[in-house]
Structure formats: structure tokens, C-alpha cells
């Protein structure tokens, strides 16, 4: 296994009422040690589900990992027992959630929330844990005197720093950051991203950054995977994706950005809406919205159209599209 993290043909479903939500449909991803992979896509594309599958924190009821393998440092996480996962979570792999306002316990001081993580894993002594938690606070730019304060006494940016301090407390080798700065203002976002980058480089952490902000990807990631309807429609290095986007959806995303349309009156929006995940189109999931779609893209009623499984257009740059557009 050359890659630190390798996901193979992951399929995840949710059951909602009597419908099956096809959240993740055969996703394969890989991530090297110390590298950062950006997962880009719209709400409901399955980005967070992928991250939660890695952490094995999908809801017990209603969610199901149907098939696939998730190899982390040579071990298949999907074969671990819940007890084994308990040790992995927080120490080997940690996750930062989107909303710092709800990710913290309002009744516990921020310092205690960080020590709690440490005590659950490698630190046995309460005093030592408090000491280390103070260090963590300082590392994310919060004075250690604020150990005893409660989440409501912090601003949004500060709370997100606390969440990051918690996630990094046990030096995880893999960090899953789910829209870590979406809830923050731009100047604070710049500070937090800068801090994440510095810590990542210092600790040589591998990271998956989930975001819908292509600017954040451009500044933070080494490689990018674009997710649409639970599938990777395009993946490659950051340069591949930003300089030579090949999938019509990726191109559409770039066209939708106001910052890319300086001097142009209308944005090139993608028509229509993302598909209903309980009832995905056959063939390529994007064809109903795709300006280049032909009959070949629609596949057969039996499911997939052969050839829409992705092809490598330049080394390492994969596109799930039949066309050369």
C-alpha cells in the first residue's frame, strides 16, 4: 500500500422512509502522507458522507456502508470493530466539523473539552492533560488563561480554533476538515486556513479538506476530487483541475463563480438542479444538466453505461465522461 489513505469502490446508502438514498456510489480516492486532498461539490453530493464513512460515524440507523474498502496506513477501517475504531478516532484520524457553534459542548469549559480527548487516548494524568490542552490552545492562538472559559464566551473564529485544537490534540495522522471555515468571515477564514496549513506542515498531517469554495482549494490543496451525485467525476492534481478542467460539471462550477467572470454580465450557471439521490439518472448522473449530453451518456435502463467509469486523460488526471469537451 503506497498511499496513506486509500478508498476503494465505497458505496454508502441511507434509508429514508421507504426510499434508498444513494449517497456515495463507488468512490475511490487516495491520499499520500502529508498531502492535502480537496473534496469539492455541492450540498448533498456525498462529501460529508465520505468523511463520516472514514471515521465510521455514520448514524447507526438508516445509514449503511454497502461495499468498499477504506485502507488507512495499511489497515482496512471497515473491518475494525467499534472498540478498535474508538481508539483510532481522535488519535489516528480526527475530524473538524463545519459548524463550530454546535460542535462544542456548551456546558463544559473549552479547556476541559480538549483534555477530555487527551484523557481518552494517550494521556493518563489529569494534570498533564490540562497542561497539554493549554499548549494546544496556545498553538491555535488562544491564550491559555482562557482554558476555563465556556464556548459562548468565544467568537465564531475562536470557537473554530478550539475545535481545531481538539482535533489536533492527539497528533492525528489524518485530519478530515469538513468545511472548516465556511461559517467564518473572510479575514478570520484567512487566519484559520493559514493556521491549519502551518500545523499540517509542522506535524506532517495528511488532510482531506471538504469545501465548496474553489478559492480555498486553490490555496490549500495538492490534489482535488470533484464529487457529483456521490461519484468522483474528476480528480487530479490542483494544476490539472484548475488549468485544464475536463468534466462539464467542473467547467460549470468554475463558470458559476462570480470571481471568474470579471467583466462579464451573466454568470454561466449550470442549468437545473442536482439529481434526486433516491432516483439517480441512468448512465452519467450529470447528463440531465449537461450541455454536451448525447444518447450515449444516458446509458441503459439497467444502470451504467459502459465507459463512464472514468478514464485517465493525462497521468493522474481522471475524468468520468465519455466526451472530449
Amino acid at each position: 500500500m503506497e498511499n496513506f489513505l486509500e478508498i476503494r469502490d465505497l458505496v454508502v446508502e441511507y434509508t429514508q422512509n421507504r426510499d434508498t438514498v444513494h449517497a456515495v456510489n463507488s468512490v475511490s480516492l487516495s491520499l499520500g502522507k502529508g498531502k492535502t486532498l480537496g473534496l469539492v461539490g455541492e450540498t448533498g453530493a456525498g462529501k460529508t458522507t465520505i468523511a463520516k464513512s472514514i471515521m465510521r460515524i455514520l448514524p447507526d440507523v438508516g445509514a449503511r456502508i454497502v461495499s468498499g474498502e477504506i485502507w488507512l496506513d495499511g489497515e482496512n477501517l471497515l473491518e475494525k470493530t467499534e472498540d478498535e475504531m474508538y481508539d483510532i478516532r481522535g488519535s489516528k484520524a480526527a475530524m473538524i466539523f463545519q459548524d463550530p457553534m454546535t460542535a462544542l459542548n456548551p456546558l463544559m469549559t473549552v479547556g476541559d473539552q480538549i483534555s477530555e480527548v487527551l484523557l481518552l487516548h494517550n494521556v493518563k494524568d489529569k494534570k498533564e492533560a490540562m497542561e497539554k490542552a493549554g499548549d494546544m490552545l496556545e498553538m491555535v492562538g488562544i491564550p491559555r488563561e482562557r482554558y476555563v472559559e465556556y464556548p459562548h464566551q468565544f467568537s465564531g473564529g475562536m470557537k473554530q480554533r478550539v475545535v481545531i485544537a481538539m482535533a489536533l490534540a492527539c497528533d492525528p495522522e489524518l485530519l478530515l476538515a469538513d468545511e472548516p471555515t465556511t461559517a467564518l468571515d473572510v479575514t478570520i477564514q484567512a487566519q484559520v486556513l493559514d493556521m491549519i496549513r502551518k500545523l499540517r506542515d509542522k506535524l506532517n498531517t495528511s488532510m482531506i479538506l471538504i469545501t465548496h469554495d474553489l478559492g480555498v482549494v486553490a490555496e490549500t490543496c495538492d490534489s482535488v476530487a470533484v464529487i457529483y451525485a456521490g461519484q468522483v467525476v474528476e480528480s487530479g492534481t490542483k494544476e490539472d483541475l484548475f488549468d485544464h478542467p475536463a468534466h462539464p460539471y467542473t467547467k460549470g462550477l468554475f463558470g458559476s463563480l462570480p470571481s471568474m467572470a470579471v467583466g462579464e454580465k451573466r454568470l454561466h450557471s449550470i442549468k437545473g438542479l442536482p439529481p434526486d439521490p433516491t432516483n439517480l439518472p441512468t448512465g452519467c448522473a450529470f447528463w440531465p444538466r449537461c450541455p454536451y449530453a448525447t444518447d450515449a451518456c444516458k446509458g441503459d435502463s439497467a444502470g451504467g453505461a459502459p465507459g463512464i467509469s472514468g478514464r485517465e486523460i493525462t497521468p493522474g488526471h481522471f475524468v468520468r465522461c465519455l466526451k472530449e469537451v
Binding site: 473572510v186 478570520i188 493559514d194 486553490a218
Partner: protein, 321 residues
């Protein structure tokens, strides 16, 4: 020029009383909006941009100052006069999930302002008008009888827009109308707002923290910091040649999608200070790389270049003007 002015805001203040004192949410802000213009208002959360919009359209009562609509002071009008003013001043809210009544069908939501206007004789006329509005904003007729929860965010926001358009307003406050939406849907709604403005000619006040969105849609931009207007300029001028140190930092903080030409970032120290009982003097001074003792004096917004207003006593010095 003068008769083209739709709204004039003069020394508008809105303070909220909080346990710790007075929260100066909007503190002495003056500007004007022309007919058919789009003014972008940017700033970080808590800087008072939404409060400013809401105070202008009388959803909140101003603490001090004036709002003139077509030359008439509407700051303290009531009854019939207030109703009249409100027909002209509308708002589209940020969160399309909480700004629609979950128990009202889409059609009824859009018909509600029509009922209050008294312009329509009967239900059938109103229904017809509601259908016209739905078509205008691109909502399928089949969704007429749907409830908000059956719609996605983009469609809900279209309903919010149709409701705001119902009485043919002159001015719409768009309070972060696309920040809850995905990029591809965001682009659709932005295009819709621009098309509608072209057709109907109303002015927008576009409140957002997303600078690339305001750049795209606005004619002029007002930058706010802790309740005060720190810079106002035509859009391109602001992006090309911002003069206030805060604006410079704000613009440099936008993550750039250009991977080969990363933006040189001006790092700000610290967090936004509290707007509760602020000290006189420049409110940005605590984070400003150029702060000096003279910044402790009260600052005023001055026209430094034609049409370009800045509130910074060291502005000329910093920018060597």
C-alpha cells in the same frame, strides 16, 4: 442628478441596548442610492450591514438620523404614510428556510402582500398576479400548491424574491440572498436578480460578506466596519485601488482561484473588537498595521477622490495621494 436620487441616508444610527451597555450597530452612516443602482454593502458578521438595511426600510426604528425616500423623510412616519413607504421598500432575506411561513402554500405566500395592497378586486385577480410573479422568477406553475419544505433552497429563494417584487417596489434590500445556496444555484439566482433589475428598474442594496458576489453585481460598494462606513467607491475602483487599510486587508483575504498568482495577503492581527460602548476614534485601529496616536481622534468619511469616500485620517499619507 438630484432628482435621480431614490434614497438618502443621513447620519443614521441604530443602537441596541444590551446588558453591557449600548451596542452601536449602525453608527452615523450617510450615503445615497440612485434609482436603478445596486449598492453592495460588505463587511464581516456583526459589522451592522443587515441592521443598516433593516433600519432603512423601517423594520427597525432608527435611534437617530434620517432616511429620505424621494426627498421625503420616512424615518418617523406612521400609519398610512408608513404603509405607502413600505410598498416601495422590500427585502429578500438570507435564509430561505426560515423566511417563508412553513404553513403557507407558495401561492398564498406570494399573494399575501397583494392582499394587503388593496389594489386587487378579488382573489382571482390576485391569483393571476401571483402566477405572473411566479413565472417572472422562474417557479414552475405546478409548485403553486406546494409548501416551502417541498422546495430546495434555490426555489425557496425565488419565492422570497417573488414576494418582494409583488408590490412593484423601488428598492429591495437583498440581505445575503445567495449565501445559503450552492455555487451553481447561486449563479442562477444572481442572474435572475440582475435580469429583474434590467426589466423593472428597481435599486438594490446588496448586503453580503462575499466579495466576489458584490463585485459582480454592484455599481458601488460601501465597506462597513463595526457599525461605520469606512469606504465607499465605484466597484471597479474599490477593487483596483482601495484606500482604507481595512478594505485592503479584506480584499486580500479572499481565497484566490488563480493558482498561479496567489494574492499577497495582508494579515490582520486579532479579532473584531466589540461594538458595545466603543471608544471614539477609528474602530479599526486595534487591528490596523498603520495605527498611530492620531487615530484616536473621531474620524469622518471624506471624499478623497471624486466619488470615492474614505474614513481614515492617514489615508492620504498611506496611499501617497
Amino acid at each position: 442628478m438630484a432628482d435621480n436620487t431614490l434614497l438618502e441616508i443621513k447620519h443614521l444610527k441604530k443602537y441596541f441596548r444590551v446588558p453591557a451597555g449600548q451596542n452601536h450597530a449602525v453608527d452615523d452612516v450617510s450615503f445615497s442610492i440612485q434609482r436603478g443602482e445596486t449598492l453592495g454593502v460588505v463587511g464581516e458578521s456583526g459589522c451592522g450591514k443587515s441592521t443598516l438595511g433593516r433600519t432603512i426600510i423601517r423594520l427597525l426604528e432608527a435611534t437617530d438620523g434620517q432616511v429620505l425616500l424621494n426627498g421625503q423623510d420616512i424615518t418617523h412616519v406612521s400609519g398610512h404614510k408608513l404603509r405607502e413607504a413600505r410598498e416601495k421598500l422590500q427585502i429578500v432575506f438570507q435564509d430561505p428556510y426560515s423566511s417563508l411561513n412553513p404553513r403557507l402554500r407558495i401561492e398564498s405566500t406570494i399573494m399575501e402582500p397583494l392582499q394587503h395592497s388593496g389594489r386587487f378586486k378579488n382573489k382571482a385577480e390576485m391569483r393571476e398576479e401571483a402566477n405572473r410573479l411566479m413565472e417572472l422568477v422562474g417557479i414552475d406553475e405546478r409548485l403553486r400548491q406546494s409548501y416551502p419544505h417541498e422546495l430546495d433552497g434555490g426555489r425557496r429563494q425565488r419565492v422570497g424574491i417573488a414576494r418582494a417584487l409583488a408590490l412593484n417596489p423601488d428598492f429591495i434590500v437583498c440581505d445575503e440572498p445567495v449565501s445559503a445556496l450552492d455555487v451553481s444555484i447561486q449563479a442562477q439566482v444572481l442572474n435572475l436578480l440582475m435580469d429583474l433589475q434590467e426589466k423593472m428598474g428597481m435599486a438594490y442594496m446588496f448586503v453580503t460578506h462575499d466579495l466576489s458576489v458584490v463585485r459582480h453585481i454592484s455599481n458601488n460598494i460601501l465597506v462597513m466596519y463595526l457599525g461605520q462606513a469606512v469606504e465607499k467607491a465605484p466597484t471597479e475602483e474599490l477593487f483596483e485601488k482601495s484606500l482604507h487599510p481595512y478594505t485592503k486587508a479584506l480584499l486580500s483575504a479572499i481565497p484566490s482561484v488563480d493558482i498561479h498568482r496567489p494574492m499577497k495577503r495582508i494579515e490582520l492581527k486579532g479579532e473584531i473588537t466589540s461594538p458595545i460602548n466603543p471608544k471614539p476614534g477609528c474602530r479599526f485601529a486595534a487591528r490596523c498595521p498603520y495605527a498611530s496616536p492620531q487615530c484616536e481622534a473621531p474620524q469622518t468619511l471624506e471624499e478623497v477622490l471624486p466619488g470615492h469616500f474614505v474614513q481614515c485620517c492617514r489615508c492620504k499619507e498611506i496611499n501617497s495621494l
